[in-house]
Symmetry: C2
Subunit: 446 residues, 2 copies
Amino acid sequence: MSPTPLRISAVDTFDIRFPTSRELDGSDAMNPDPDYSAAYVVLRTDAEDGIEGHGFTFTIGRGNEVQVAAIHALRHHVVGRDVDEVCANPGALYQELVGDSQLRWLGPEKGVMHMAIGAVINAVWDLAAKRADKPLWRLLAEAEPEWLVAQIDFRYLTDALTREEALDILRRGRAGAGERTQRLLERGYPGYTTSAGWLGYSDEKLTRLAAQAVADGFTQIKLKVGADLDDDIRRCRVARSVIGPDIRMAIDANQRWDVAEAIRWTKALAEFEPYWIEEPTSPDDVLGHAAIREAVAPVKVATGEHVQNRVVFKQLLQAGALDVVQIDAARVGGVNENLAILLLAAKFGVPVCPHAGGVGLCELVQHLSMFDYVAVSGTTENRVIEYVDHLHDHFQDPVVIREGHYTAPTAPGFSAAMRPESITRYTFPGGTFWAADLDEKKGRAA
Amino acid sequence: MSPTPLRISAVDTFDIRFPTSRELDGSDAMNPDPDYSAAYVVLRTDAEDGIEGHGFTFTIGRGNEVQVAAIHALRHHVVGRDVDEVCANPGALYQELVGDSQLRWLGPEKGVMHMAIGAVINAVWDLAAKRADKPLWRLLAEAEPEWLVAQIDFRYLTDALTREEALDILRRGRAGAGERTQRLLERGYPGYTTSAGWLGYSDEKLTRLAAQAVADGFTQIKLKVGADLDDDIRRCRVARSVIGPDIRMAIDANQRWDVAEAIRWTKALAEFEPYWIEEPTSPDDVLGHAAIREAVAPVKVATGEHVQNRVVFKQLLQAGALDVVQIDAARVGGVNENLAILLLAAKFGVPVCPHAGGVGLCELVQHLSMFDYVAVSGTTENRVIEYVDHLHDHFQDPVVIREGHYTAPTAPGFSAAMRPESITRYTFPGGTFWAADLDEKKGRAA
């Protein structure tokens, strides 16, 4: 008699919000007052050891409940599934979710519904990595190329990347993978910091944090720009004078500009030698990015945190619109779609420097860059993972930064799980923090 | 003493679903079993005459509740607003909704959150047209060019269309507008029908309905393709033999193909002289559409019903990727964004042939094409509005088709209001139809 298979017994969702707007953490030209939030999902199983898969979509406050509703709408595809089957082939579930013919109308493959798929799929990978007793980066790096390629949806990609080309890249990536794993465990993966450069910070705070970043071993910092050109000139001058000529300084406009304005503004900041201009315009504007890139070189063009799916990344690469691909772990359809994007970037020879920060994005995306280093691109040259020093203490396996490098996680899973006490405190609106906040507001009003 | 201003007193939402999948109405290569649905919104006012604004997002079933939640998330921007102020300048509210810095993260300007904005904004235009005692097409056609241009968000557009260029187009559009209004009232606006060509229909049904379409005065029909090439060849042959050489036959793949496959498949059907191939690949793939268009000429390339916003339409036009712009009244950010798209199309000289069908999309989009005819493009040459003969009886002011033409609406508003008894019957899951359906299922299970 075969044993009863383990099942996914429930898909639980949580609306978790942190009151970050009160400190101006995370303020930029388009997002003046974000409350960093997570539409959080837990895949419960009936395993005796209580093993679970955790995942989430990052949002910045209002609307987090819509994102939770979207995750909830996927439940019927997941509850009751055989855990071993799902973990053996997350790609099958990914295809099923993306292919739901009625839900597809709400995207397709973009926005709220697609991010919900990403949250669920990432939770499956968390579960799969825990079951395999490996950190996710290692599970991916040690997987067979054939199996990895089977995780990818090549629909709409084959004019730029075929299954065979992807397989070739992954097979080539095996050479030296063991040594790179060793180096990764010893040295970690380089990061850069955005913590100094939020738009809402004073020059004094910028100076102090930029100096701290250099002292901490980071070789790149990032400044938010795009609200006021005179302010940007002053802040870039301050930052450059603090960090000196050898530390890279990226600037980030968070989609603030039209094409001509992006070119004009970036050129006006060129004397401070920005390394890249990030999100100069709409993330949907492939042709716009191509025009900007041509005009602002040698300043590089970076985007990706809001790029909705692999089809737009494909075109950004086809059009020569990007110098830097900024994947986000929780914007697209989860690990499966990010595998496709990493392979597209490798095919076009463009470095991947992930977007992170927010809630738990550093925790997730480090696994993807580490896999890329060990098994795809084989290098960390001109590659850095964004690092923002916020909210890590809410995670069970938070990132560890040493001398400007992400330390390779060793705990099994995708580092996605929040601490239970943080979930209890910051669930909106009923968690202890928000309930007390509401009481206080009522008290002031009375 | 000035009178108390009228306020928007409530934003009510409804999850309305029709069981269309039981008849295979609406079946195509990507959507085998749609249940045509509407996330429906009513802006209540405290006016004594009970005037209301109605709007909706069309979906195809599952996930309609997510769309309702997204509309609900916009409530705080709308409740309590001065009705006259909002109606005098819907563009201000549109900018406020699109610019909500926290909700913006969920798009930006795409997918569930953006369609929710479209539903609310369209409801505002319904209210504005009712207050003006005009059908919406007429309100728009009689508006000052300066006011219309102020309704548009030019962000991300100025590399292709400036405010001044838009103003020029609208000023030129005034010449002869009175005569065109007269002609429109007499003759209506040409339509074409998709009712014959759903993938789930038998050859017998296709034959009968195609013959009926010609008898009804339509000069263009449309067939769904893309599931099976042999079937498509047979169905195109049947249809062409029924309609003869002079009726246009469009084909529609509903995003089924990759670029190379789209080219191959379309060429395989070229002998039946399709007029356009619609949605040959991902709606996000600007460069893919450009490649397909170059390869399949003289077959035209059409897309738009899933094009997420004006930024993607801009690029499709910049890249020469389209012969036909298929606006959808309820996919983008409502009338305001569709004004931008109509003006982009006019700038690039590409005809607009709207997507319609679904629930109420014919009712809405006719107003936009009629405005385009009277005040923008000034012509109906090579322009047709899609017509599907489904679900019109649920609307208070349903479209009227005469000899293959949409009759110009004369009732005030945007023709968006559903009949109260339809809302009562088809609200999901508590409406009388669905409650009875559930009882029956329970009965069968018992």
